[in-house]
C-alpha cells in the first residue's frame, strides 16, 4: 500500500484545484460515494473521497470523517459555498474531468487502495 501526496494525485488526474488544503499530506486509501449518509457510515476516515456531489453538505461529511481531499468527478464544478467551506476547513477540493471509474483506476495505479 502506497502513501501518495495529494499534489501527486492532482497531477495524475489533471485536477483543477478549488481549495488547496494540505497538498503535501499523503493518503493511502480512497473511497467513492454520492450518498452522504452511506459515506458517513463507511470506513472512509482519512481517505480521499471521490464523488459527483458538489454542494455544501459534502464538506460537512468530509469534516466529520477527517477526509483530507475531495475529488469531484466528471468535471462537475463545486458550489461556491462548498469551495469556501473547504478553504476554511483546510480540506483540499479538486475537480477532474474523468468519470469516477477512470479516477479510481488512476489512483489504483498510484498504489492507493480501497
Amino acid at each position: 500500500m502506497a502513501s501518495v501526496r495529494i499534489s501527486e494525485i492532482c497531477a495524475e488526474i489533471g485536477a483543477r484545484v478549488y481549495s488547496e488544503g494540505d497538498m503535501a499530506r499523503a493518503v493511502e486509501r480512497a473511497a467513492v460515494g454520492d450518498l452522504l449518509s452511506f459515506v458517513m457510515g463507511s470506513d472512509a476516515d482519512g481517505a480521499a473521497w471521490i464523488t459527483v456531489q458538489t454542494h455544501l453538505n459534502v464538506a460537512a461529511v468530509a469534516v466529520l470523517k477527517d477526509i483530507p481531499v475531495i475529488i469531484i468527478a466528471s468535471g462537475r464544478e463545486p458550489a461556491a459555498d462548498l469551495t469556501e467551506r473547504c478553504q476554511t476547513e483546510g480540506i483540499a477540493l479538486v475537480s477532474a474531468a474523468h468519470p469516477v471509474f477512470d479516477i479510481c483506476v488512476k489512483l489504483g495505479r498510484l498504489g492507493i487502495s480501497g
Binding site: 454520492d34 450518498l35 449518509s37 464523488t51 454542494h55 455544501l56 453538505n57 460537512a60 466529520l64
Partner: protein, 141 residues
C-alpha cells in the same frame, strides 16, 4: 468538568445550507472539554445525521446537547409529521426522502442506523401528526 453544559440549536426546515453547524459546534465543545476524539466524533456524527433529519423530514426543530462528567446526551425535538413505523425507519435503506433530498445525496436510509451505531442509548418517541423526539446518550470513559 465542573458544571454540566447545555447547548441548544434551532434548525429550520429545508435549510440544507445550515448543514453541519450544530455538529461542528458539538464537536468543538467536546474537544475543548478534553473529550477523546473518538467520542467527540461519534457525537458529531449523531448530531449531523439528526440535524439533517430535522431539515429533511421533521419540518425543522431543536437540537439539545447536555454534557456532564458521565455522558453526552444529544436530543432532537420536532413537531413534524412523526414516524408511523419506527422499527422500519431504523432499518438500513428505509427512506421517505423526496426527489430534492435524493438529488443532494440524502435518502440512503442510513442516518438513523448511523446514529444507533454511534450511541450507547438510542430512543425515539414519536406520534404521527405531533412530532418526533430522538434521544441518544454516549457514555464517557
Amino acid at each position: 468538568m465542573a458544571d454540566p453544559i447545555h447547548l441548544e440549536y434551532e434548525v429550520a426546515a429545508d435549510d440544507y445550507q445550515a448543514a453541519g453547524a450544530a455538529s461542528n459546534s458539538v464537536k468543538e465543545t467536546l474537544k475543548m472539554l478534553g473529550v477523546p476524539t473518538a467520542i467527540s466524533r461519534r457525537a458529531a456524527i449523531i448530531t449531523y445525521e439528526a440535524e439533517m433529519n430535522l431539515v429533511i423530514h421533521g419540518g425543522g426543530g431543536k437540537i439539545v446537547a447536555n454534557i456532564d462528567e458521565k455522558s453526552v446526551e444529544l436530543m432532537t425535538i420536532d413537531e413534524g409529521p412523526g414516524i408511523p413505523d419506527v422499527e422500519k425507519a431504523v432499518q438500513e435503506g428505509f427512506t421517505t426522502a423526496g426527489d430534492r433530498a435524493r438529488e443532494m445525496g440524502f435518502g440512503a436510509g442510513m442516518g438513523l442506523p448511523n446514529i444507533k451505531r454511534n450511541a450507547d442509548v438510542f430512543e425515539i418517541f414519536t406520534e404521527v401528526g405531533s412530532g418526533t423526539t430522538l434521544r441518544t446518550v454516549i457514555n464517557l470513559p
